[in-house]
Symmetry: C2
Subunit: 467 residues, 2 copies
C-alpha cells in the first residue's frame, strides 16, 4: 500500500479523453467507458478528463454517441472523482470562434450535467479569448483552470511563461496548466518554467500536460513535480505513451516512497490495465502508434501531425523532394506570424503557408485562414507580426484590435430555429450551434431510429394485441 | 550543435547487442550491422556494446555468423569508438561455469580481436566468480568493468550495494555498472544507490544499464546522472524502449543545455534512426514488443521472461488457475534461496522451484539445477540459505565453500581435440569449449559450404580451361 507523500503528485486520468483522442483518433465509444468507469473512480485520482477537445465532434460524427449523454452517464458512475474537460476557449469544442452566448450556455449546461474542472486554453495564449470562459466557469461555481500552451521559439522564455501565469492568476483561475500538446517539452525546461512561476509567487496548483511523442514526457513530469508542480496528466498503461500521456502506473511507481508519492495503490490498477488491454485492439484500425519514440521531432521540432500534413500537401503538388525547403521555411513563417505555438488551428495555418511559400513564392498565395489570421481574427500572437508580410497578405486592410469574439452576433437563436424539429433537450441547441452540419444530421438519425423502433414496437404490440 | 556539459552524461550505444537481444531474440545478423557501423562510429559515443551476452550463441545457432568474425569486422569499422561486451563472469558467454583456462583464453582472444571494455557480471553478485575475469582483463590491458546486479529484496539495501561497489573497487575495476536487467529500478532508488556510492568515496566511473520494460528507464538514468553516475546505456530510437534500453536521441535531448549535456549532435542520428527503422521489420517474426509499458511488473516485480515461464509450466500441468499461488510462493523461495537477483540462471532456478512447490508440495521435487545451487555450485547468494530448505533438497550433502570454478579441470584440451577436423583458427577452440554442441555443427557447416564452393569453383575452372 502506497503512502501519500507530503508533496504528493496528484494524478489526472486522461484515459477517457486525451488518451484515445491521441492514440485512436478519438473514436472511443461511451459503451466502452461505462463498464470500467466505477473502477477508475475507486483508484483515487485527482480528476478524470473525460470530455471536450475533439470528443464532442467525434461522438456525433463517428461514434453514434450523444456527447451530453456521455457526460451524464459517466458522471453518474463517478462517486468520488472530479470530472474534467478540455475547453478550447472561445472555440469551445470546435475549430472557430463562437459568439459569447454559445460559450456561456455551453459552460452552464456542462456544469449542470456534472462537469467540475474546465481546462481553458487558447492556441495563441491570447487570454482575451479566455476572458468569458474563465469568468463564466467561476460564476457557475466550477473549477477554472487557465492554460499556457508550450512552444519553442525565441519569445517563449521562462520570463514570458511567468508573465502568462501572472495574467491567468489575475483572472482568478483556480489552477494553471502547462500544456505541451506537441510532446516536445524537455525535463529541465519544465523544471525551470515551474520553478520560475513558484519563485515569482504563483501559488495556485500547477498541472502539467505532456504527450510522450518524443519520449520525454515522464522525465518532464518528474522534473516539473520536483520544481513544485502538483498535478500530472497520465493514462492507464495500455492507453499510455507514444502520442498519448505517460502511464499512471509508471509515474506512481517512479514516485513511490518519496515525498512526491501519489499514495495510490498499484494493485487495483492491474484490473484497469487488463480491461483496456482488451478494448484497445477493438480500435486497431485507428491505432497508428509506433513501438518507439519519434526522435525526428526532437530535431525538426515540428509536431508529428504537421509533418504528415507537409508530406501530403507536397505529394499533391508532386514536390515531395522539396520537404527540406519547407522545413527551412517554417521558422521564417513562424517568425513573420509572431511565433504562435503550433497547435490547432495555428499549426495548420503556419504549416500550409510554409508549403505555399516554397511552391509559389513567399506570400504569393495565401489561404483564407491566413488572411483572417493577419486580420486579427484569431487573436494576438506572442510577438508582433511582421508588417511587411502582413501587407503582402492583406494589403492595406486594417486588422481588428479588439477581442475577436466582440465582432460576433449571438448565434443561439439561429441554432434553435434550425434544430427545432429534432430537438429533445436544450443541450441539442448548443451542439447545433457548434456543429451546424454534424449535429442536425446526428439528431435526425437519432430521431428516425427512435421512430423506427416505435413503429416496430407498435407493430409488435399489434401482433400481440390484434385490434 | 550540442555543447558538452561539465558533468556530461556519456552514452554507450547498445544497438548492436542488447537492443536486438532484448527486442528481436538476439537474431540480428552481422550483415545488417556493417553498413551502418561507421555512421555509429562518427556520433561520438563513449562505447558501442556489440558483443557478448546471448549474441555469441545465437550468432552460430541462428544467424550463420562466426562471432569472432563479427567482432573483427565491426572493429575494423570503428575508428574512434570503444568496443564493449557483456561477459557473464565465469559463465563467459554461456550458461554454466567454465574452467579458468577457457575464460582466460577467451578474454585474451577477445582483446586480441579488438575488445576494449569488458562488463563482467555474476548473477549472484558473488565476486569470487569475477576474480579471474577481472584480473585477466586488467592483465591484458583492457578496461575491466565490475557489475552490480540490481534486485528488490530485504537484503538489497543501499548499504549492501555500496559494500559491493567497494569490493569491486578493491579488485581494481576501472568502472562499475549498475545492471537493472529486469527493468524495475525506480528513479529515486537509482539516485540513492549512486549517491550512496559517491558519498562512500567510490571514485571510478559509474555506468547505469536499464531496460525500459516497466517504463521507468529514462527517469532512472536522469536521477542516476544527477547523483553522479557518468555513463548510460541507450539504443538508437527505432531499437529502443520496451524490453530494450532508453533511446539515445531522447536522453540527449533531455539533457541538452544542462550541465549533463552529452554534447552529441542530434542531426546525424536521424540517418541512423532511418536505417534501423528499415532493418527492424526484417525481424518482425521475433519482434514481440508491445506499444506500451508492462505495468504488471511494477506490482509483481517478476521479470517478463519469468512470468511467461510460469504460464507455460502451469499450462503443461493443466494448472493455469494456480498462478496466484505461484506468485505468492515466489518470494518465499527467493528468501529460502538467500535472495538471489532474478537474472539468468537464478531466475529460472527460483522460478521453476516456485511452480514445483505449488504443484507438488514444498521442495518435494527439485530440478538438478536447484540441487546444484544448494550444493554451492552457482556461488554464494546475498543472504544465507535457509538450512531447513537446503536439507529438504540435498539431505546431508555438504555444500562446497570454495569458488565453484576451483572444482573444474581445464577444458581447452578436450575442445581442441574435438574441433581439430574443422578448426580454422584458434578462436574456434574457445567457441567449441563454450558451446560443444552448437559450435562444431556451425564449423562443420561452414567447412562444407566452403568445400562446395571450392568444388563449384573447380568445376567452373575446368569449364573455362578444359584439360
Ligand atoms: Co493533449
Ligand atoms: Co541488458
Amino acid at each position: 500500500m502506497a503512502t501519500k507523500g507530503p508533496k504528493a503528485a496528484l494524478i489526472t486520468d486522461t484515459t477517457f479523453r486525451d488518451a484515445h483522442q491521441s492514440l485512436l483518433a478519438t473514436r472511443m465509444k461511451t459503451e466502452h467507458m461505462i463498464p470500467i468507469a466505477e473502477k477508475h473512480d475507486e483508484i483515487g485520482f485527482y480528476s478524470m478528463e473525460m470530455w471536450g477537445g475533439a470528443t464532442f465532434d467525434t461522438c456525433m460524427r463517428f461514434c453514434g454517441d450523444d456527447p451530453w449523454e456521455r457526460l451524464r452517464v459517466i458522471r453518474r458512475h463517478l462517486k468520488k472523482t472530479k470530472t474534467q474537460m478540455l475547453l478550447r476557449g472561445q472555440n469551445i469544442v470546435g475549430y472557430r470562434n463562437y459568439a459569447d452566448d454559445v460559450l456561456i450556455e455551453f459552460i452552464k449546461k456542462a456544469v449542470f450535467n456534472g462537469m467540475d474542472i474546465f481546462r481553458c486554453f487558447d492556441a495563441l495564449n491570447d487570454y482575451r479569448n479566455l476572458e468569458v470562459a474563465i469568468k463564466t466557469v467561476i460564476d457557475e461555481g466550477a473549477h477554472a483552470q487557465g492554460t499556457i500552451c508550450y512552444a519553442i521559439s525565441p519569445v517563449h522564455t521562462v520570463e514570458y511563461y511567468v508573465k502568462l501565469a501572472k495574467e491567468l492568476e489575475s483572472m482568478g483561475v483556480h489552477s494553471i496548466a502547462i500544456k505541451d500538446m506537441a510532446g516536445i517539452i524537455a525535463p529541465y525546461i519544465t523544471y525551470n518554467i515551474v520553478k520560475g512561476m513558484r519563485d515569482a509567487g504563483i501559488t495556485v496548483p500547477i498541472q502539467i500536460h505532456c504527450h510522450y511523442t518524443s519520449g520525454m514526457g515522464a522525465m518532464a513530469y518528474m522534473k516539473g513535480i520536483e520544481a513544485g508542480a502538483n498535478i500530472i496528466d497520465c493514462a492507464i498503461s495500455p492507453m499510455s505513451v507514444q502520442t498519448s500521456q505517460p502511464s499512471i502506473e509508471v509515474m506512481c511507481a517512479a514516485f513511490e516512497g518519496t515525498e512526491y508519492d501519489p499514495g495510490l495503490d498499484l494493485k487495483p490498477m492491474i484490473e484497469l490495465a487488463d480491461y483496456w488491454k482488451n478494448i484497445r485492439p477493438l480500435y486497431a484500425a485507428f491505432d497508428l502508434a509506433q513501438k518507439y519514440p519519434d526522435a525526428g521531432i526532437l530535431v525538426s521540432q515540428v509536431p508529428g501531425g504537421m509533418m504528415s500534413n507537409f508530406l501530403s500537401q507536397l505529394q499533391q503538388a508532386n514536390a515531395l523532394h522539396r520537404l527540406p525547403e519547407v522545413l527551412e521555411e517554417m521558422p521564417r513563417v513562424q517568425e513573420d506570424f509572431g511565433w504562435p505555438p503550433l497547435v490547432t488551428p495555428s499549426s495548420q495555418i503556419v504549416g500550409s503557408q510554409a508549403v505555399l511559400n516554397v511552391l509559389m513564392g513567399r506570400y504569393k498565395m495565401c489561404t483564407n485562414e491566413v488572411k483572417q489570421y493577419m486580420r486579427g481574427y484569431y487573436g494576438r500572437p506572442p510577438a508582433p507580426i511582421n508588417e511587411e508580410a502582413r501587407k503582402m497578405i492583406i494589403g492595406d486592410e486594417q486588422p481588428i484590435t479588439c477581442r475577436p469574439a466582440d465582432m460576433l452576433e449571438p448565434e443561439l437563436p439561429k441554432a434553435k430555429e434550425m434544430i427545432a424539429p429534432v430537438m429533445e433537450k436544450e443541450e441539442d441547441i448548443i451542439s447545433c450551434a457548434i456543429y451546424p452540419q454534424v449535429a442536425p444530421k446526428f439528431l435526425e438519425e437519432r430521431m428516425s431510429k427512435k421512430l423506427n423502433v416505435d413503429v416496430e414496437l407498435a407493430k409488435k404490440s399489434s401482433e400481440f394485441y390484434p385490434v
